[in-house]
Amino acid sequence: MIPASAVRRFTFAFGAAFALFYVVARLRGLALFTVYPAQSIVLLGMHRSRDFADPVLDFLAPEMYWYGWTASAAVCALVIGLIAGLLPDRLNWFWAWCVWIIPPMAMAACIYLTIPWFRL
């Protein structure tokens, strides 16, 4: 039986780390895999259609990174969550503070990253 305090630390750290690493993955293009829905292909890592084909043919093989960013963030958050679960109880306040503060800040960062769409 896992103690409730360890589950608490895990869930709080997971939520905070997930938001943080999602923004980092989005900012740095750290996708665990790339999905090409038109071809039903999944490639490990981040790939751009224009690296393989002429940029004007980009629309024939649109790539999707969102799934890869999510997977990257989930893996990193899982590691942080497991580490947090092993740490002592006295750090509970820190993880609660993190899960309170970091997700809204990550959302604000995502708004900033989306600004280019609104300048077109």
Binding site: T11, T70, W117
Partner: protein
């Protein structure tokens, strides 16, 4: 297939928005509302009982949305780009970002609502519930606009 999934996605989202709105208001609204008023009855629900359903609905909605997104990328996005719906694309980008951040917060949200000790994590529980409610409302509105974009504002 895509249409069926999109309708299912919409139906799950309707259930989710109802549940999360009930819970958010029950958590945050002042308890001194008149008991027989609409608002009083609206907030007088056992909010903790909604948590498991909200987690399940959020996950189902996310999964359906993730599948529908594949069809969107191939069949719809090129048309939107051709028609220069850049703002709509930006709002959809924000929707996918917010939804994923909400997905990460879901375990913490579930933990805050589990158990019988309602005094613990009260502020954090309220904050996470409001955050999820905002994400669900944002996603619902953006998804609805995207679904109707060929007629919306044209």
């Amino acid at each position: 297939m895509a249409t069926t999934l999109l309708i299912l996605h919409g139906l799950v989202a309707v259930a989710l928005i109802g549940a999360i709105t009930h819970q958010a208001l029950a958590t945050c609204a002042p308890p001194n509302a008149k008991p027989n008023s609409f608002f009083g009855r609206f907030r007088a629900i056992p909010a903790a009982g909604f948590a498991n359903a909200i987690v399940l609905l959020y996950l189902t909605s996310w999964l359906l949305g993730a599948v529908v997104y594949l069809y969107f990328k191939v069949d719809i996005q090129p048309t939107l780009e051709r028609d220069r719906h850049w703002h709509a694309m930006g709002f959809l980008d924000l929707k996918e970002d917010f939804v994923v951040i909400g997905l990460g917060v879901l375990p913490a949200y579930w933990f805050c609502w589990r158990g019988t000790d309602n005094s613990q994590h009260h502020h954090l529980r309220a904050a996470l519930t409001i955050l999820l409610a905002f994400i669900v409302w944002w996603s619902f509105i953006v998804g609805h606009v995207m679904n109707d974009i060929r007629g919306f504002g044209s």
